[in-house]
Symmetry: C2
Subunit: 150 residues, 2 copies
């Protein structure tokens, strides 16, 4: 059994919830393919494989995966939520092109230090962070050369 399933099942047991095929289908799909994903894409992908899982179940499952640290929300500022699995992946941030939406991932280890400083200074227990940097990639800069400031 893969570890993410193990983690989820431990979480389920500990919380007194129930282990269902739907939840495991969703989790498997998330970890099988995607880097980033959104609800609609995940739903269609499952549907395409013959799964009967409903969107409602996806919406109800994602908070559980977030709560046990398997995935996290990512803000791409496009009107709906995106997610990514974080279990088994180095902590990273996103550089996003405002033109074409391309995402580059990059690591920035010093943010760990920053978290510790903030925890100390503001007496917070830090749970995580999200850093999005945005701009224009070379291709989009060339394409939109006429656009002001781009």
């Amino acid at each position: 059994m893969t570890s993410e399933l193990q983690i989820f099942q431990d979480y389920i047991r500990q919380r007194g919830l129930r282990r269902t095929p739907e939840r495991e289908e969703i989790l498997r799909e998330i970890f099988e393919v995607h880097g980033h994903f959104d609800v609609d894409g995940l739903y269609l992908q499952l549907k395409g494989k013959g799964s009967k899982v409903s969107k409602a179940s996806i919406y109800r499952a994602l908070p559980l995966f977030i709560d046990c640290g398997l995935i996290r929300e990512v803000d791409f500022s496009d009107g709906h939520w995106h997610y990514e699995h974080i279990y088994g992946h180095a902590d990273h941030n996103h550089l996003r092109c405002l033109g074409c939406g391309e995402i580059q991932e990059f690591e920035e280890p010093t943010l760990q230090l920053l978290e510790e400083q903030l925890a100390h200074k503001y007496h917070y227990q830090i749970k995580g962070h999200q850093l999005q940097v945005y701009g224009y990639c070379t291709a989009c800069r060339l394409k939109d050369w006429g656009r002001q400031g781009v």
Copy 2:
């Protein structure tokens, strides 16, 4: 005239748009009071002052303010958009309490360097960044002492 109005009017002229009382009312209200705001709060606040501005106009005005660099979107991960004025404010980031929603602002000048590194490494023209750190403040930690991991 305040400088943010000046900036906006220059922008309006340059883009061939029109200067309207509604847009200026909205802009004035944003810079008069708020640190952070959302559409609904802004609307109610204007309404409370007797303004007739509609939400639709607010929704149509905000992208203009963003485009000319006066405000920016802020992601508080609570299902709708928040904004903050950036003109005249030092660049800063947010430390948010997942319990009570309190926001601490902090500066992190090294992100400027990071932007430059990313620009060089990925050949991007960087337009900005957003860093949100989240966790639990002291009060919420005490309040929810029974909650796992908190």
